[in-house]
C-alpha cells in the first residue's frame, strides 16, 4: 500500500495538502514540516539565484526508514514537498521530477486565475483533479 503526500507551501504556510491514504496524515504532515528545514537549507546553500530548471528540483531531501521525502522549489519560493513510501521502489527520480513539473504547471494555472489570491488555499478543482490522478498513478 503505497502512501504519498503532497504539500505545497508558501513561506512555510501550507497552501495545499493532499494525502493518500488519509489516515496517519498527521505523521506525514509532521514529516513534511520538518523537511521544510531541509528545503530551506538547500535553498540557502544554493547561494545566488540560479534560475535553472535543474535547481528547482531538490531531490531526495532525506530518507527515513520508511519514507522518502522529495522537495521542489519554484522561483517564487513556493515549496512543494512530496512524501512517498519507500516500498514504492518503482518510483524513479525522473518520475518524481515529472510529477513536480506537473505540479508546477498546475500551480501556474491556478496562479493565472485572477480570482485566486496568492496565499489562499488552493481550491481549484482542476488542480485537485490533477493531483488526484497523479497520486493514484503513483500508488
Amino acid at each position: 500500500d503505497a502512501l504519498s503526500t503532497i504539500i505545497l507551501f508558501l513561506q512555510n504556510y501550507p497552501l495545499y495538502i493532499r494525502s493518500i491514504p488519509t489516515e496517519n496524515e498527521l505523521k506525514f504532515h509532521y514529516m513534511v514540516h520538518t523537511s521544510l528545514d531541509v528545503v530551506d537549507e538547500k535553498i540557502s546553500a544554493m547561494g545566488k539565484a540560479l534560475v535553472d530548471q535543474r535547481e528547482l528540483y531538490l531531490g531526495l531531501l532525506y530518507p527515513t526508514e520508511d519514507y522518502k521525502v522529495y522537495g521542489y522549489v519554484t522561483n517564487s519560493k513556493v515549496k512543494f514537498v512530496m512524501v512517498v513510501d519507500s516500498s514504492n521502489t518503482a518510483l524513479r527520480d525522473n518520475e518524481i521530477r515529472s510529477m513536480f513539473r506537473k505540479l508546477h504547471n498546475s500551480y501556474t494555472d491556478v496562479m493565472c486565475n485572477p480570482f485566486y489570491n496568492p496565499g489562499d488555499r488552493i481550491q481549484s478543482r482542476a488542480f485537485d483533479g490533477m493531483v488526484t490522478s497523479m497520486m493514484i498513478q503513483v500508488c
Partner: protein, 768 residues
C-alpha cells in the same frame, strides 16, 4: 333564476371547471378556494365578480352549487365579452364565448379557454376538436416534460405572467400582452404545438406561435435568462427574483438589453433546451456578451486582462470560488486573459450559475472557444462564433473534437494524448501558437506520455538518449557498475522532459541508479591538474615544501601498504621505514577518511611511488620522506582532516589498482568502490599511473571520439548504430583496460607483500 341553457361545449367546459373546483366532490363549491381563484383568473374587476356571485345566487346560498357555478361561469363569459351583467343575459346572449380565465397557476385553465374559444369561433357545432381532457393532458405533458427539465423555470414562468401583465412596462409587457391576445382571441393558435419540440425559437415569432403551447416549445434555448444578471451587472439594484423587468428592461436602455429582457421575459426562461444543448448561447445573448466585451476591450480580437475580467465578473455577486472555477473552465489557453470567445463562455457560465445551474466540471462543447487556425492569428469576430454556436449540433457529448474543422488536425492528437494521460481539464492551447508550440506545450503538459510521436523534441530525445546510453555504457564497461550519480547526472544534462521518454531506454542504466541522493553535477572533472599524471603532481608537490600536508600526502610514496584501520594505525605508524613514511602518513590519514578507501590512499601513493620509481623521481621522494616525516607526525590530526578531501582526490587520481591495504584479505572489496568513484569521469580514468598511460591514452582516444555523436535528426538509426558500435569499441577497450589494471593490481599486491617483509626486517631498527 331562469334556467340555464348551455351548449354542449359550454356544458363540458363548465362541468370540467366545476369538477375542478369541487375538490371535495360534494357537488357544492364553496365560495372560497378554487372558485375564487378561477374568478380572479377571469381578470374581471372585483365588483363584477361580486356581482356575478350575487347574480348566480352563490351569495345567497353561500356556496356554489352546480347550477350556480354554471351561471357564474356564464356570467363571467358575459362580462368578459363586455356585455352587461344581467341575469337574463345568460341566456339571451348568443354566441357567447366561453369564459376565459387567465392562468396564473393553472395552465389547464388557461389552455382550456383557448381551445374552447378557438372552437367557439367556429361557431356552430363544436364538432371541433376540443379535447379538454386530452388537451389538458397534452398541456400537462408538455408542461411536465418541460417541467422536468426546468422545474424552476416553469414555476418562474408562472409568476411573471400575472404581474408582468401590469401595464407598467410597456416594452417588456408587450410580449405578454401578446401572448394573452394570442391566446385568447386567436383561435388559430389552437395548434398546441406541444407535440415535439416546436419550431426553433426566434425572438418574437415563436413567442407568438408557441405561446399557447408555452413551455415545451422553448427548446434549444439556453436556460439562463440573463436578464436579472444584466441587472446586477449593471449595478442596478439587484433583484433576486425573476421579476426584474423593471428598469433594466426599459426600452431606453441598450437595445440589446431590451431585446434580451423582452425575450427573456418568459421565453428564454422557459427554454429548457429540450433536445438541444443547454449551454448553447443564443444570438441575442451572444450579442449582449459581445457588447459587454466591447465595453471592456474595444478590440474584439484583443484580450481582456484578468484583472478587468475579475472586476467585471465580481459584479455578478457570485462567490469567488465559483468565479474561480468559471475562470478555470473558460480560460482555455490559460493565459490569464480572456478572448472574445472565452469571455462569452465565461459570461454564459456566470449567467447559468446565477440561474441555478450547476457549473460543469468541464467546459461544455458549445462553449469552447472557437479555436481558429493556429497559424491564422487574425481572429474573426462574431461570425464564426455565431456559426459555430448555432450551427453545431449540440447533441454531441462534450468530446474534445468539436465541430471546428480547422483544428481537427491538431486536436485529435491532443485529444488522445489528453485522454491517455490523466490530466483532467483540456489541454491548454494558446490561441495563436504555432503547431509546434502547441505540441511542445502538449508535451509539457503530458510529460508522462511517452508515446507521442509527433514532437520534434522526441527526436532530440533519441539523440540525447543515445548519448546518455553511450556515456552510461562507457561507465558501465569501465566500472562494472555505474555510479549512482552518473545516470542521474545524465538526466540532468538532458532535457528532463525527455527523460520520461527515455525511461524505457535508459532503464537498464538507471536501474542501478535508483534515487541519487543529491543532484550530482557532472562529476567533477577533477582537477585534471592532479589527476592527469601523478608524476606531474609529484614534481609539483615535491617542489612545494612539505609544509602542506597534502603535498606530503601526495609525496609519500607508500613503501608499505599501511594498515589503514585506526586500530592498526599505531602499528604502522610505529614502524617507520623511510619508505613507509608516506604510507604511514596515509594510513593515519586514510582511516579518518572514508574507511573503505584507505587502501586507496595507500595505493595511490603506492602507485605514485611506483610511478615515481618509473619516473626516476625516487630521489625526490627519498628526500622528501624524512622531511615529511616530522611534519607529518606533528600535524597528523590536522593533516588527516585536511588531507581528507585532498586525499580523496588523490585517491581518485591514483591508479585504479586499489590494493587493499589493511588486511590484505579482502583486496577486492573496497577497491571496486573506489574504482567506481574514480571512473566517474573519463578524465579520471586517464590519469592512471604512468604505467597505464598508454592504456589511458587509448582510453582517452576512445572516449574523445565519443562526443561526436551525430545529432542530426534524420540519421537516427544510423546514429544509433554508429553509437552502438562506438560503445562496443569502448566497451572492449575498457574491458581490456580493466583486465590490465587487474593484472597490475596483482603485481602491486605482490610488491606490497615484499615490502611488508622488508618492513618486518626493518622493524627492529626503527625503534632506535
Amino acid at each position: 333564476m331562469e334556467g340555464l341553457t348551455l351548449s354542449d361545449a359550454e356544458q363540458k367546459y363548465y362541468s370540467d371547471l366545476f369538477s375542478y373546483c369541487d375538490i371535495e366532490s360534494t357537488k357544492k363549491v364553496s365560495a372560497n378556494g378554487r372558485v375564487l381563484e378561477l374568478f380572479r383568473a377571469a381578470q374581471l374587476p372585483n365588483d363584477v365578480v361580486l356581482q356575478i356571485m350575487e347574480l348566480c345566487g352563490a351569495t345567497r346560498l353561500g356556496y356554489f352549487g352546480r347550477s350556480q357555478f354554471y351561471i357564474a361561469l356564464k356570467l363571467v363569459a358575459v362580462a368578459q365579452s363586455g356585455f352587461p351583467l344581467r341575469v337574463e343575459s345568460i341566456n339571451t346572449v348568443k354566441d357567447l364565448p366561453l369564459p376565459r380565465f387567465v392562468a396564473s397557476k393553472n395552465e389547464q385553465e388557461s389552455r382550456h379557454p383557448t381551445s374552447y374559444s378557438s372552437d367557439s369561433e367556429n361557431q356552430g357545432s363544436y364538432s371541433g376538436v376540443i379535447p379538454p381532457p386530452p388537451g389538458r393532458g397534452q398541456v400537462k405533458k408538455g408542461s411536465t416534460s418541460h417541467d422536468t427539465v426546468q422545474p424552476r423555470a416553469s414555476v418562474d414562468q408562472q409568476e411573471p405572467v400575472s404581474p408582468v401583465v401590469s401595464p407598467q412596462q410597456s416594452p417588456p409587457a408587450s410580449p405578454h400582452t401578446w401572448r394573452k391576445h394570442n391566446r385568447h382571441p386567436s383561435g388559430g393558435n389552437s395548434e398546441r404545438p406541444l407535440a415535439g419540440p416546436g419550431p426553433f425559437w426566434s425572438p418574437f415569432g415563436e413567442a407568438q406561435s408557441g405561446s399557447s403551447a408555452g413551455d415545451a416549445v422553448w427548446s434549444g434555448h439556453s436556460p439562463p435568462p440573463p436578464q436579472e444578471n444584466w441587472v446586477s451587472f449593471a449595478d442596478t439594484p439587484p433583484t433576486s427574483t425573476l421579476l426584474t423587468m423593471h428598469p433594466a428592461s426599459v426600452q431606453d436602455q441598450t437595445t440589446v438589453r431590451t431585446v434580451a429582457s423582452a425575450t427573456t421575459a418568459n421565453e428564454i426562461r422557459r427554454q429548457s433546451s429540450s433536445y438541444d444543448d443547454p449551454w448553447k448561447i443564443t444570438d441575442e445573448q451572444r450579442q449582449y456578451y459581445v457588447n459587454q466585451f466591447k465595453t471592456i476591450q474595444p478590440d474584439l480580437n484583443g484580450f481582456i486582462p484578468g484583472s478587468a475580467a475579475k472586476e467585471f465578473f465580481t459584479k455578478s455577486k457570485l462567490p469567488i470560488l465559483e468565479l474561480s472555477h468559471i475562470w478555470e473552465l473558460s480560460d482555455f489557453d490559460k493565459d490569464g486573459a480572456l478572448t472574445l470567445d472565452e469571455f462569452c463562455a465565461a459570461f454564459h457560465l456566470v449567467v447559468a450559475r446565477k440561474n441555478g445551474y450547476d457549473l460543469p466540471e468541464k467546459l461544455p462543447e458549445s462553449l469552447m472557444p472557437k479555436l481558429i487556425d493556429l497559424e491564422d492569428s487574425a481572429d474573426v469576430g462574431d461570425q464564426p462564433g455565431e456559426v459555430g454556436y448555432s450551427g453545431s449540433p449540440a447533441e454531441a457529448p462534450p468530446s474534445k473534437s468539436p465541430s471546428m474543422p480547422s483544428l481537427n488536425q491538431t486536436w485529435p492528437e491532443l485529444n488522445q494524448s489528453s485522454e491517455d494521460t490523466a490530466i483532467v481539464h483540456p489541454v491548454p492551447i494558446r490561441m495563436t501558437p504555432s503547431k509546434i508550440h502547441m505540441q511542445e506545450m502538449e508535451l509539457k503538459r503530458t510529460g508522462s506520455d511517452h508515446t507521442n510521436p509527433t514532437s520534434p523534441l522526441l527526436v532530440k530525445t533519441s539523440d540525447l538518449s543515445e548519448e546518455n546510453k553511450i556515456n552510461s555504457s562507457v561507465k558501465f564497461a569501465s566500472g562494472n557498475t555505474v555510479a549512482d550519480g552518473y545516470s542521474s547526472s545524465d538526466s540532468f544534462t538532458s532535457d528532463p522532459e525527455q527523460i520520461g521518454n527515455n525511461v524505457t531506454r535508459q532503464r537498464s542504466h538507471s536501474g542501478t541508479s535508483p534515487e541519487n541522493t543529491a543532484p550530482p553535477p557532472p562529476p567533477p572533472r577533477p582537477q585534471p591538474s592532479h589527476s592527469r599524471s601523478s608524476s606531474l603532481d609529484m614534481n609539483r608537490t615535491f617542489s612545494v615544501t612539505t609544509g602542506q600536508q597534502q603535498a606530503g600526502v601526495v609525496a609519500q610514496p607508500p613503501a608499505v601498504p599501511p594498515r589503514p584501520q585506526p586500530s592498526q594505525a599505531p602499528g604502522p605508524v610505529v614502524h617507520r621505514p623511510v619508505d613507509a613514511d608516506g604510507l604511514i602518513t596515509h594510513t593515519s590519514t586514510s582511516p579518518q577518511q572514508i574507511p573503505e578507501q584507505p587502501n586507496f590512499a595507500d595505493f595511490s601513493q603506492f602507485e605514485v611511488f611506483a610511478a615515481s620509481n618509473v619516473n626516476e623521481e625516487q630521489d625526490d621522494e627519498a628526500e622528501k620522506h624524512p622531511e615529511v616525516l616530522p611534519v607529518e607526525k606533528s600535524s597528523d590530526p590536522a593533516s588527516s582532516r585536511v588531507a581528507k578531501t585532498d586525499s580523496k582526490i588523490e585517491e581518485k587520481t591514483a591508479a585504479s589498482a586499489p590494493a587493499n591495504v589493511s588486511k590484505g584479505t579482502t583486496p577486492l572489496a573496497p577497491p571496486p568502490k573506489p574504482v567506481r568513484r574514480r571512473l566517474k569521469s573519463e578524465d579520471e580514468l586517464r590519469p592512471e599511473v604512468d604505467e597505464h598511460t598508454q592504456k589511458t591514452g587509448v582510453l582517452a582516444a576512445v572516449l574523445a571520439s565519443q562526443p561526436s555523436i551525430p545529432r542530426s535528426v534524420g540519421k537516427d538509426k544510423k546514429a544509433i548504430q554508429a553509437s552502438i558500435r562506438r560503445n562496443k569499441e569502448t566497451n572492449t577497450v575498457l574491458a581490456r583496460l580493466n583486465s590490465e589494471l587487474q593484472q597490475q593490481l596483482k603485481d602491486v599486491l605482490e610488491e606490497r607483500i615484499s615490502l611488508e617483509v622488508q618492513l618486518e626486517q626493518l622493524r627492529p631498527f626503527s625503534h632506535l
